[in-house]
């Protein structure tokens, strides 16, 4: 078995109908996935979506209830964690507090019987690669800062050259600014090592920055897999589209003339290209595609509402417009700010081609 994945690279890890149940609860439900060698793949989902359980099966800490995990085409369902050529960076990092930075990094080598001199050489090499000073070799690991501990954990995971590195939300407890730096650093390390990285997070934003491909999980199912661009521009469900950030979602159904009827507003909209067999679902419009209009325009979809509030988001300004009970979000670049006042009657609209139609 050596499937060629969409990227043209060889598959390293394949999941076939992978399922994990705890009693009556199915945490991971028939997941199929091919991960290419050297890929940075991120699994995104809210808490309770099954992403951690999925990862624990891949690392060997949890045994699948059914389905298969194939590594280079070989079934590894029952291979225990300590015999898999994979390694995980934990959410808590799980560094050994009674050991120095050097001893932590050398741990996987020590238990494999590598001699002290080679161990130290490798540890120093990793310290350099992860931009940690050489003096940290004998530093107590509990004295390192959050970002440094992150790097030590990564160095330890890389020490014995595992084929796949797993990451269980290691950046979630780190403050925003450092997290942004570490995200980019991690992507650089991925490039330098060329290893397969499988990362899980609840933040699609984080996933977008780092990943080659993203898989979105919901209630145990892998609902969509694609490049960051595909996920962003062509979400296949309301869930995925809302997961990306603030979006405007309108429940619609097709009517006889091919337009979309929105019962909530008692009006109809021009659809983007209608998917085959579409009857009802949601129309998704990103805030940056909504604009304020001076007068109704039959060429685009319009709604009349009231300006409720505005929020400065750095480079952009976000406006909340209420149409009846429905809240719409409009975003403009700061230099193209809208001059309206609170409670002004406003007309908002979008080009049909800028909206996305999702079935769910």
């Amino acid at each position: 078995m050596s499937d060629e994945s969409t990227t043209g690279r060889k598959s390293i890890l394949q999941l076939r109908q992978l399922t994990k149940s705890f009693g009556n609860f199915t945490a991971v439900d028939r997941v199929d996935l091919d991960i290419a060698e050297g890929e940075f793949f991120t699994i995104v989902g809210p808490s309770g979506s099954g992403k951690t359980t999925l990862l624990r099966m891949l690392t060997g800490m949890e045994t699948p209830s059914s389905g298969d995990i194939l590594l280079h085409g070989e079934r590894i369902n029952d291979l225990p964690a300590n015999r898999r050529p994979t390694c995980m960076v934990f959410q808590s990092l799980a560094l050994f507090p009674h050991r120095t930075v050097g001893q932590n990094i050398e741990f996987p080598l020590k238990i494999r019987g590598v001699d002290a001199a080679s161990r130290k050489k490798r540890a120093l090499q990793l310290l350099e690669q992860l931009r940690l000073p050489e003096t940290y070799y004998s530093k107590n690991v509990t004295k390192c800062s959050g970002g440094e501990r992150q790097r030590v954990a990564l160095a330890r995971a890389l020490a014995y050259n595992p084929e796949i590195l797993f990451f269980d939300e290691p950046l979630s407890a780190i403050d925003y600014k450092l997290r942004k730096t570490l995200e980019k650093e991690l992507k650089d390390i991925h490039r330098e090592t060329g290893k397969t990285f499988i990362y899980i997070t609840h933040s699609l934003e984080e996933a977008m920055v780092m990943s080659d491909r993203i898989g979105v999980m919901r209630a145990g199912h892998l609902v969509q897999v694609g490049t960051p661009n595909e996920i962003y521009t062509a979400p296949r469900s309301k869930f995925v589209s809302e997961f990306i950030g603030d979006v405007n979602v309108i429940a619609v159904q097709t009517q006889a003339d091919g337009q979309l009827h929105a019962a909530e507003f008692g009006t109809s909209f021009v659809p983007p290209r209608l998917p085959n067999g579409f009857t009802s679902g949601h129309l998704v419009v990103r805030p940056e595609f909504l604009r304020f209009l001076d007068r109704p325009d039959s060429a685009i979809n319009c709604l009349e509402g009231r300006l409720y509030n505005e929020y400065a988001l750095g480079s952009r300004i976000q406006y909340q417009v209420r149409v009846g009970e429905h809240v719409f979000i409009v975003e403009k670049l700061r230099q193209q700010a809208f001059g309206g006042q609170r409670d002004d009657a406003v007309l908002i609209g979008w080009d049909a081609k800028d909206s996305i139609l999702v079935a769910e």
Partner: protein, 283 residues
Amino acid sequence: MSLRKFAAGPLCALPIGLFLLIGFAAPLLAVIGFSFMPPRTFGLFLNPTLVNYIEIVDSTSYISFLWSLALAAVTVAILAVICYPVAYGMARIFGKWSMLVTLLFTIPLFVSENVRLYGWVLFFIKNGVLLGTLKSVFGIEADSWLFTTGIILWGMVYVYLPFMLFPMTLGVAMVPDQIREAALDLGATRWQVFREVELPLSMPGIMIGFLLSFVLAVGAITEAKVLGGQRVIPIIHDIEIAFTYAQNWPLGAALAVLLMLVVGFLVLLVLRRFDLDAILGRR
């Protein structure tokens, strides 16, 4: 108004400070004071002398010291072997049943130590529960195990078990699951996980169990008296006799001070070897 001159902290600590001074420091100082008084006197403010200490060095008290220390050391060693698996089970395996195990080990503590030890006497005595049953059911006649060193150890292990078990359980429970999983994930075998990660990280609890049961076991006397039939005289027995039958408080006090010094020295030695803070990663 004048109270405001003191910081709130020391002021709040004053009541407990006074309580400790009267309840803890004063008796201790009195014992130390008595150890320097002339033999068989009952005043605390006579001319100090080293006679008591000299008498101890010249006597055979060292045998009692050695017995006490040896019995305590062996008790701790046996407890370590027995308690670790139970502690491991309570912290990791038994789950909801560990509460039941805890109860089984703690309920006997509600009964006086003497009563429990006399219970063992009834169990082991000739024609008692064990030997009587063997004799009437199987016709086997065996000598009683009472009044042997082995039975003293049995009693000590039995009495001091909770003091080893519970700190040890806490120690084992302190090792985070993710750290064990990380070690396993990095390729360690179960044995390597135990030796490299679990044991060192549960060391604080284990050490506290060691110290607690050792210090208590050095002060053991009832086991030797009741189960051992005074076959072995522990140092506490010597001290008791000096204070009661012999009416020689200064000698008893000197023995007590020496015991405190010996035990204190051993405890410090262990604490220096195993830096609890360093093990816990606090430093």
